[in-house]
Symmetry: C2
Subunit: 195 residues, 2 copies
Amino acid sequence: MLDLRGKRLVLASGSPRREQLLRLLGLEFEVRNSGLVEENHTPAEPAEHVLTLSRRKAEAVAAQVPEGYIVGADTIVVLEGEILGKPRDEAEAFAMLRKLSGRVHRVYTGFTVIEKPSGRWMSDYEVTEVHFRPLTDEEIWAYIRTGSPMDKAGAYGIQDQSAVFADRIVGCFYNVVGFPLTRWYLRMREFLGEP
Amino acid sequence: MLDLRGKRLVLASGSPRREQLLRLLGLEFEVRNSGLVEENHTPAEPAEHVLTLSRRKAEAVAAQVPEGYIVGADTIVVLEGEILGKPRDEAEAFAMLRKLSGRVHRVYTGFTVIEKPSGRWMSDYEVTEVHFRPLTDEEIWAYIRTGSPMDKAGAYGIQDQSAVFADRIVGCFYNVVGFPLTRWYLRMREFLGEP
């Protein structure tokens, strides 16, 4: 659906979920992990945080790619002003899910696309509101035992067994999974000069 | 996460999407197509329509299953009072997507669970609001050429290339795919007498 005019598309991400999402669009692309170490709990505003991180990831990979479009992205979970990154251990995963239980949080994903060799770039971000129903401790531990929370911001992946934790979302679903497909697609069309 | 006390769980559906969704919960279950022929454009109210159809599907399979929990479900797309079923051909798929473009529609999924041999049962339904951005005719035809719209209510599947057609949903995402996981899970807990 996007016409990249034969140029390469490179996803600067080590997230298998992001790769799966981009595959939905039927585009050809390659994946390169930026190798950037993510730092949690930075003091920046959420939008600034994800925009900055997505740009750093794209830049790290763009430095190694002579030609094409390089896409970086970063996702965080924000609960009442607090940024929840990936949990360090199961106890922290439990504490995060306990906090999210019965409350509304926001998921931010920022993305940056760099065109090489021109160096032209654009960034944007998406926010989705996610409502969690009240969770029992047993449900949280059963979910932690699946191993799924450990590599995920906010200690959950809405596309796995924690699908039944959220009872309502407002906004883009795929943003919660890790990449705001529709916004990215529309911004790419503009960036490529498509009607 | 649900304790079925060793009883069988049977999904009375021929939809591979519904099967994939139920698999997310990590439950063991079998699939049996109810064999019911779906009729489009019935005059019933949307909620009544999906409740009735889901019950008929569950009953058709329950008649063949001596013991266990049988789950039927039915999904429709409703645009300003009009029920959009599965398109009969590509021209109808185009007409449906043209109608949905730039507008808000609602997706209804009803489900019925029958316990055998007791015959005890319950039904419920979920509604999700889906906002489509304005689509070009080229985008619609490109999507129809993927073949995906033909077996789907409203001529789209939000989990495929049409992921970029919706820019916002309000409610349960999985309901749009075809099964409202969270509501079903909560109603099953009640039905099974779990805390």
